[in-house]
Structures are given as structure tokens and as C-alpha cells.
Amino acid sequence: MVAQNIFFGIIAFVMVVAALRVVTTKNIVHAALYLVIVLAGVAAQFILTGAEFVGVTQILVYIGAVVVLFLFGIMLTRARIGREVEVDNEKRWLAGLVALVLFAVMSFALVDAFEDSRIESVSGGTPQLTSEVSDAIFKDYLIPFEAASFLLLAALIGAIVVARRE
């Protein structure tokens, strides 16, 4: 238990620092690379909670595809690779204030709701097996599964419509 909490703490710290860099760095390529750290951290947290399949999917889809897409997007639009002067707008302080208030409200609601509930105490410490996840997808969540396939189809058609040359 202690080991897990230590792991959690280290990973969470790295994630938060990297996430802050994603939204503050002036270099767009650095932002994408910091994003990789956050995404990998999220995958590690999934594995800590016993959701290993989601963790692996996170790595494959997010780091393997989404970030690569980002990098391609950055390179194809020939954005400046070094520091850019104006990546933030003037409303930065207002944005920070909104984020802080939001965090205060949400952490109050979360602490109020779950106090010191432990994950293991309810589920008995057994992680959800991947087979249960797949069963759930093809039993209870068949409609969302089909909807997701149509979503990907729509995105595919859409991306081609928009990005093709005339």
C-alpha cells in the first residue's frame, strides 16, 4: 500500500509539473513533448488502479497516435520551432483566477463526497479484469460501441473532406 502511494505521489507530481509546462511554455514543440509526459503519467495511474488495458490503450492511442498527429500538425503548418513571442493572450490572469476558483469548488465537492474512502475497501482489492471490460463492451455498451465506430467514420470522412486538395 505504502509503495503504491509513493509511486502515486511521484508520478502525480511529475504530471502536474508537466501539465503546467504544457499550458505555460512558449515553445509549441516543447508543449507537445510535455504533453507526452502527462499522458504517460496518466497511463501509469491507470495501471496503479488496476486498469491495465486502458493504460496500454492510452499509450498506444494517445502517445502513439494523438501526439504524433500533433507533431505532424505543428510541422506541416511550419510553426516556429523556437520560442514564440505571443502564444498567450492578455486575459491570462483572469484565466488563472477562473481555474483556481474552479479547483477550490471541485476539491470541496470531492472531499465532501468521499472523505477518506479507499479504493480497495469496496472492490476488495481485485483489479477489474480485461475480460470483464470486453464483456461489458459487447453486452451493456453495444450501442456506444457502434456509435463510436460511426464517430470514427465521421471523423475520417470529415478529415478527408477538409484536408484534401481540390
Binding site: 502511494n5 502515486f8 502536474v16 503546467l20 504544457v22 499550458v23 509549441i28 502527462v38 499522458l39 496518466v42 495511474q45 491507470f46 488502479t49 488496476g50 488495458f53 486502458v54 490503450t57 492510452q58 492511442v61 494517445y62 497516435a65 494523438v66 498527429l69 500533433f70 505532424f72 500538425g73 506541416l76 503548418t77 511550419r78 510553426a79 505571443e86 502564444v87 493572450n89 486575459k91 484565466a95 488563472g96 477562473v98 481555474a99 483556481l100 474552479l102 479547483f103 471541485m106 470531492l110 472531499v111 468521499f114 477518506d116 474512502s117 479507499r118 479504493i119 477489474q128 471490460v133 461489458a136 463492451i137 463510436a148 464517430l151 470514427l152 471523423a155 475520417l156 477538409v162 484536408a163
Partner: protein
């Protein structure tokens, strides 16, 4: 492990993402901030799923990952299209529509 340690981490990532969306001008950077928010949602979902002892959280997280990939694909396609016509992806410079 407490449930709340995951949830607070999620809330932190969420708020950082919201800050990023509001403070950034560059379209691609805003998109990255939105990815932060989606990941915070996934942390919440998986933690709630583990807490409730059902696979629902994980199933939902998988769908969210699929949706995020689809959104990024479409979004970057539109970014490319704009770039081809205007060579700028600055949201505030996109001001043909002001007024």
C-alpha cells in the same frame, strides 16, 4: 489508496487544462489543453470504476480515448486547411469575422 487522491489529481489537471484553453491564443495549444481535460476525465472515470468495482469506468474511458483521437484528427485537419489559406493558426488573428 484513497479515492480522493485520484480525483484531486483529476481536478488539478482539469483546472490546468481550463487555464490553458482560456489563456492560449494558438489553436494547436488550445487543443493540447483540451486533451489535458479529457485525460483528467479519464482518471476520474477509471478511479470511480475501481471504487465501484465495475468495469463501467474503464469502458467509458476507452470510449473517451476514441473520441479524443477522432476530435484531434478533425481539428488538425481544419488547422491545416486554415494554414493553407492564411498561414496563421493564431486564434486572435482569425479576425475576419469580428465586428
Amino acid at each position: 489508496m484513497w479515492l480522493n487522491q485520484f480525483l484531486i489529481l483529476g481536478a488539478l489537471l482539469f483546472c490546468i487544462g481550463v487555464y490553458g484553453v482560456l489563456a492560449r491564443r494558438n489553436g494547436v495549444m488550445v487543443l493540447m489543453s483540451i486533451e489535458l481535460i479529457l485525460n483528467s476525465v479519464n482518471i476520474n472515470l477509471v478511479a470511480f470504476g475501481a471504487f465501484n468495482g465495475t468495469p463501467v469506468g474503464q469502458v467509458f474511458a476507452l470510449f473517451v480515448i476514441a473520441v479524443a483521437a477522432a476530435e484531434v484528427g478533425v481539428g488538425l485537419a481544419i488547422v491545416l486547411l486554415i494554414y493553407r489559406n492564411r498561414t496563421s493558426i493564431d486564434l486572435d488573428a482569425a479576425d475576419l469575422l469580428k465586428g
